[in-house]
Symmetry: D2
Subunit: 387 residues, 4 copies
Amino acid sequence: MTTFAPIFVPAAVRGAVSDGAWLAAMLETESALARAEASAGVIPADAAAAIAAACDPAGFDVEAVCADGRAVGNPAEPLVRALRERVGGEAAGFVHYGATSQDVVDTAAMLVSRAAVGAIDEELDGVATACARLAAEHRSTPMAARTLLQQAVPTTFGAKAAGWTVDVVGARDRLRAVPFQAQLGGAAGTLAPLGERGLAVLGAFAAELRLAEPVVPWHTHRGSLATLGGALDAAAAACAKIGLDVVLLAQTEVGEVAEAPGGGSSTLPHKRNPIRAVRARACAALVHANAGLLGGGGNEHEHERAAGAWHAEWTALTEALAHAGGAAAAARECLEGLEVFPERMRANMSAALYAERDAFGLDDDAYLGSAEAFVDRALARIRDTSG
Amino acid sequence: MTTFAPIFVPAAVRGAVSDGAWLAAMLETESALARAEASAGVIPADAAAAIAAACDPAGFDVEAVCADGRAVGNPAEPLVRALRERVGGEAAGFVHYGATSQDVVDTAAMLVSRAAVGAIDEELDGVATACARLAAEHRSTPMAARTLLQQAVPTTFGAKAAGWTVDVVGARDRLRAVPFQAQLGGAAGTLAPLGERGLAVLGAFAAELRLAEPVVPWHTHRGSLATLGGALDAAAAACAKIGLDVVLLAQTEVGEVAEAPGGGSSTLPHKRNPIRAVRARACAALVHANAGLLGGGGNEHEHERAAGAWHAEWTALTEALAHAGGAAAAARECLEGLEVFPERMRANMSAALYAERDAFGLDDDAYLGSAEAFVDRALARIRDTSG
Amino acid sequence: MTTFAPIFVPAAVRGAVSDGAWLAAMLETESALARAEASAGVIPADAAAAIAAACDPAGFDVEAVCADGRAVGNPAEPLVRALRERVGGEAAGFVHYGATSQDVVDTAAMLVSRAAVGAIDEELDGVATACARLAAEHRSTPMAARTLLQQAVPTTFGAKAAGWTVDVVGARDRLRAVPFQAQLGGAAGTLAPLGERGLAVLGAFAAELRLAEPVVPWHTHRGSLATLGGALDAAAAACAKIGLDVVLLAQTEVGEVAEAPGGGSSTLPHKRNPIRAVRARACAALVHANAGLLGGGGNEHEHERAAGAWHAEWTALTEALAHAGGAAAAARECLEGLEVFPERMRANMSAALYAERDAFGLDDDAYLGSAEAFVDRALARIRDTSG
Amino acid sequence: MTTFAPIFVPAAVRGAVSDGAWLAAMLETESALARAEASAGVIPADAAAAIAAACDPAGFDVEAVCADGRAVGNPAEPLVRALRERVGGEAAGFVHYGATSQDVVDTAAMLVSRAAVGAIDEELDGVATACARLAAEHRSTPMAARTLLQQAVPTTFGAKAAGWTVDVVGARDRLRAVPFQAQLGGAAGTLAPLGERGLAVLGAFAAELRLAEPVVPWHTHRGSLATLGGALDAAAAACAKIGLDVVLLAQTEVGEVAEAPGGGSSTLPHKRNPIRAVRARACAALVHANAGLLGGGGNEHEHERAAGAWHAEWTALTEALAHAGGAAAAARECLEGLEVFPERMRANMSAALYAERDAFGLDDDAYLGSAEAFVDRALARIRDTSG
């Protein structure tokens, strides 16, 4: 129950992780299963066609399915019942053939995740592009570097943006590398009713959905989910780092950047709040909390199906995806409209900043050290990975 | 975005924490503020009446308010604008007088929490009653106590239920003791525009809403929110402990209890899954993750208004309330329908269980030790607190 | 393994939570048990005397006990063996009579916690005193209030310190209210070998150690541990809030406060880092992470003894205590040496700050609103609770 | 402060993450820096030789260094002072030349992590080997698969072990892929005093230590630390999953496996507790809590050096490494000594198990489905990655 969701989560991501999207993904899963089983000769081709035709989300009421699911603790069982009724006739008996509820929900979770990650990736790309643009534009714009929030030595704003760039590109690439695996194991991971054709069905099923084929069912081995959760967490954290730096640079007393107008206040219309940066930070905190329920230590899955840990994942995954999208969108909006004030940056540079220069006997050319060279390295890095 | 919410969260709690409930609570806050300010002579009485009349949630579209709130990062600012428009005339200028967005959202959060906690408390009371009934009925029903999941010594099922009872009653009482404080500080905690009548307004405002009056504004001091979060976490954990024990006792190989029918499977209709126990455990994991964002270490609120930590609380609070309700409802349903099989309990008691009895030379009367006395103490405890 | 512990944790707290302190507390527990059992007529008085005499920590090697404990997964079993050997003769058979390892470790945990909380409480008292002093001294020192890190309206530094005061006093009082309960249930919570004298022994045992007597054994009901964890978390968070505000006020560009000299740098000796504030924040993050393992949702304890969740508590409790002490000591040191620069505060106040004053037509007397009144309320609050 | 560390953490890992190991790694870093700077012509070769010679850990007292570090909040500054004193003469001025404390601590963290991960990897390899052996030996040993802890359909013990194998191998490979990066940026990430030779020094420094060369300094971009934390978490979770299954299978009423003798009890010597499995679960909970402080959302690093988040990492990293080692060692010991009871597995298989077989009209050959094929796939997977 993301409170006030439209404030935080972009519409594309909200749509991708809604209950309706989950339902559609479960139906896509049932359809793919039927087609895979027909192609492997396990069920008749016309039954598969009838099932696929019936898997139109418009024919199902997600609220009713969830309400029915309370008794059994998952939405797949009532959905399968409703689908069988809709298919009717002999073909009804081939719906969900040999599969278990977790096959459907886990596979749907991967489809939902892939779609949401696609939308998040676009936002992250926008963040990376905006970072790189700032790095290039301000490659040589001097400003104070600050450690423990004290001015330390000179740097350039481009070097700061270069750090953001490398972090965001790394997080984006990590997210792109996450494998999305199909799930199909039947009642307890043996694909028993499919007999010797089980592995053929598994391969065809994964191929139908363009998902990776797992070595073994992963009903209670959630390492790949942890990989996804970790990647979402890192992506949101990279966005929150940008948000934090912007909030600090936009302070009244610092005034080195400002977000585009918009972040007003209900009492003080003159204020220009860095609200996109704020949203990025808030979203990242929520991603972190929810990612902690995805596959790491303390999330234990008993035997061949967990008695609780699995059920907690659905909301945790949805929230992690939603707020990762929120963090990325907020960081992108923040940077795309960012005003940068080089004069203020220079004016803020305190005398103490030059202490190191003087201590080391550096000349004015040298006192920025390798700041510009690091910008160039960061820009090369983003070029390498976006080609 | 609680995925498949109706599976986990009871309708009363879902309603109490919905975006619509938040909106209604914000309007109730604006209405109470106007009335308090009129009573303190800060704004005209007829303006207050006009404002109060306009604070009917039916006149507002929560989706539109949230969409408008994206630019400023909170829902109060667009709501105030919409309310001013609705009030119109001179009275419009007295809407939200001297208050800040966080006053409205924080106070609304306390109203939402109080309502939700009321619904959770009813469920917890049901859990406690069911625990106590089982403790009384099975005061002397022998069963194996298990440590590290190995049979250790004999106990009674009543003693096990007595442990649940004391834990749930303690958690319920802790939740009942949580203070719900009004929030009113104005733009930055000084109540500046209210002048010398500020404290009078604060007192009247809190009284209107039957909320506690804080010593000072708590915009960035979230200790009381941490108290609420901790109480929800402990309540859900007490319910999850019951769920865990039931799941273990209901194992096929143990078979000492069974949930009421209902928890079927999409493949195996013969299965009788302990699904309510499972739901309690899943909900508790989600409460824990979200309670961690409410006021503890790592949730830092800068100066007089946080730049992110506050915004993350809204969803975290909603989720913590929703799933605490879910855990309590699940535990209640689990225990109210629980079948207990004393014969199986006795049959399961292994020879090794008697090792301690023999080692200590205990007779048959003594080998249950103080199990029954502990039941009596637990029942006295629940009587003391429920009078 | 607190890395570089002396940097973060004050010596008194380090001592209170060391392995040696745990060992001493376990021996104190064994001694109290023997005396309680003698007083209840369960074991001979001279056996109790012999046991009590042998419970001198100097006679035991904590490293060796822990190494021996690896095989059984806890330190109590090897300690009991070593103690029996040390006692020798017939009395050896009365060592640990009727108790279980968890009775000893849990009771020791409460003794360790009580001692550590005592030391933490002293530090918190120092923090509260320093806060109150600053609030009183700067009751009328004007400064900018900042929301979302933007200057908003005027406040006083006293009002800021008043907020800290109320938060810290609340956290301190919450910590003082935590109950420390004895644990005694025997092998699985029935006190079986003690027969009808079980409850008498339990009462005497708790009294010997000045611990609360639990209604029932709490081996797998950890609500009271969650209460302790939550109180430590809230205390550390209150200290971290102070740290955060100090870090922000001490920024080069703000310069409204400075910590006492000391926080130098390995490269830049001119820097005056707010290192105590930094330590408070770091410690609070560690408290939060560890408190999450103490009794909340997701920490499940099976049946009558947990198969893992209990064992994880020992380190989590030690770390939470250690770093809560670290946070409090750091905040105290930070505030006790804090230099405040009222001129800089006034000079930093931007023109925009007066927008509200002008918008509301406030005069200069009124523009601080109730800031001073809130200081008075906070000071009254600390007087009420420290009397 | 890992309480009772020898119970949980193997000696090799304890050694690798001790304060002494951190100190040695900091000295190795200083030595490598001097040598790299000499090779780049930044400092004289004989100064580098003098520094390298002085970097013998035996010459330093880690307790004293930490005590000195309290004032500045890190151990590098006092260590550098001590090292300069030890080097003496003109060469003293070239100690730590152009570096900052965080360069030393972060690089040391990577050296410590690499060594600890090496030891953890060995343990994980042992876990994987033991899993694979069990999978191969019990490829066709029938047992009940259990979902929600209810018997569901038949599987083989080999298939269960195959699931463990794939999970552990995946986690091990993920851990092996973690990059360990050198850190060198100077006071604020510009390498200013090194002038145009900065990048050459960075490259030589990384090469000296066989660490990866970062694109830009990562003082406040902690994505790679999050990668390490996530990998440790996933590895420990994979071990805890094994622990959970073993605890459940070893229940008195199930009795399908038993750990090697050793896990006795202080009261009940007949008990054979699955204590290694218990230790794996406890360790994984601790890894998870600490990994949450490593680089994910909510761990914010300000500007060019964090004012708290960095300082919290040291203990969190040490604990995460230590307990990941603990989890892996426990799982390895658990499986290496595991007794498996095929007769009991078969005897436990309830009539209900055959419901699916009958419902689908499967014959006896088919009812294990692809269980054996999945074993073969898992064994192929481990062969592929261990070649």
